[in-house]
């Protein structure tokens, strides 16, 4: 998507005082990018632990529902940090991100993986009984891992598209 309304919006955003302040500072963008990467680290390791457990990869001493309750909060904590740091980066260079196919694909995959995470989280039994690892849940876990990989890849490719 690259229509004129979007490009007009980018042009408007680019000239707001906040955007000019971000562009004028050498440290702001790398600091926000580092914060963004730190939050991605927290989120990815949590997603990996949950999905590996659902797929029966690695340590099986805890049930899937226990592993979900240990790690899923990290995902919901990291997402607002990613949203804020990401938004600041967008305001600094709106056209580079908003009008970029890699960025747009990243957001679509993000919405999909959030929906998947919510549904994986929902099948967690409240009393800690083992989660039944049927094929549907495993499929969701595989999809989730693929989407997170895609999101990281698109994030890097924003710089090249």
């Amino acid at each position: 998507m690259r229509n004129s309304a979007l490009l007009d919006f980018c042009a408007y955003l680019e000239n707001t005082p906040l955007a000019l302040a971000i562009q004028g500072s050498f440290w702001m963008v790398p600091l926000m990018q580092t914060l963004h990467i730190l939050a991605i680290s927290a989120l990815l390791i949590a997603a990996l632990m949950i999905n590996f457990r659902v797929l029966n990869v690695g340590n099986k001493s805890d049930t899937a529902s226990v592993v979900i309750s240990q790690y899923v909060n990290i995902i919901w904590l990291a997402l607002p940090i990613l949203f804020i740091s990401g938004s600041i980066l967008i305001v600094g260079e709106p056209a580079r991100s908003l009008a970029n196919p890699a960025f747009q694909m990243k957001i679509i995959m993000l919405l999909m993986v959030i929906a998947i995470t919510l549904s994986i989280q929902k099948i967690r039994a409240p009393n800690g009984t083992p989660l039944r690892s049927d094929r549907k849940v495993k499929l969701l876990a595989v999809l989730s891992l693929m989407l997170w990989f895609g999101i990281v890849a698109c994030g890097r490719w924003i710089a090249y598209t």
Binding site: L38, R156, Y160
Partner: protein
């Protein structure tokens, strides 16, 4: 030293990475993926050491379930990082933030050795503890700060790298 760097710069691998438009970003993508998993897994162990997260679980169990991921991811980060370095060895070796990153990596390695060999030699002994000994908490805090600095320096390389031409 410069001779070795020029040799690396002119190697077949370096030329391939430089000349192929897709190769460099893809190797970077795997490098980013690897370092996020390295940092994420180490940070969770550090947060338990410091006493911020998962206090009801023994540190021995947490490190046992996370450190295998750390090592696999660290291997991937080293391989991809080496290829990225070789593709432009002279520029990277003169970059302030690249040098800082390598120094911080070395310090993080020393900190880890101190923990593995001395401070946390017997993690099982702490199984019943919620708050760990002072030395363990400090070691965790140092590790967290060093790894965050490594990521920050890594990101800054992209903003400060200047082309250095190899004369061969």
């Amino acid at each position: 030293m410069n001779d070795i760097l020029i040799l690396l710069y002119n190697s077949h691998l370096a030329q391939t990475v430089r000349e192929n438009e897709l190769l460099f970003p893809w190797i970077e993508t795997f490098h980013v993926l690897a370092i996020t998993l390295v940092f994420g897994s180490i940070a969770l162990v550090d947060l338990r050491l410091i006493g911020i997260r998962a206090l009801n679980r023994p540190i021995s169990k947490i490190s046992q379930e996370l450190l295998p991921i750390t090592w696999v991811a660290f291997l991937l980060a080293t391989v991809t990082g080496t290829i990225l370095f070789v593709s432009n060895a002279l520029s990277y070796s003169q970059n302030f933030y690249f040098i800082s990153k390598i120094i911080f990596l070395t310090l993080a390695g020393i900190n880890m050795l101190c923990f593995q060999l001395v401070i946390g030699r017997n993690l099982e002994a702490w199984n019943h503890l919620q708050t760990l000994p002072y030395s363990a908490r400090v070691s965790g805090a140092i590790s967290l700060i060093l790894w965050a600095s490594i990521l920050f320096c890594g990101r800054l390389i992209g903003f400060t790298l200047e082309p250095v031409l190899a004369i061969s």
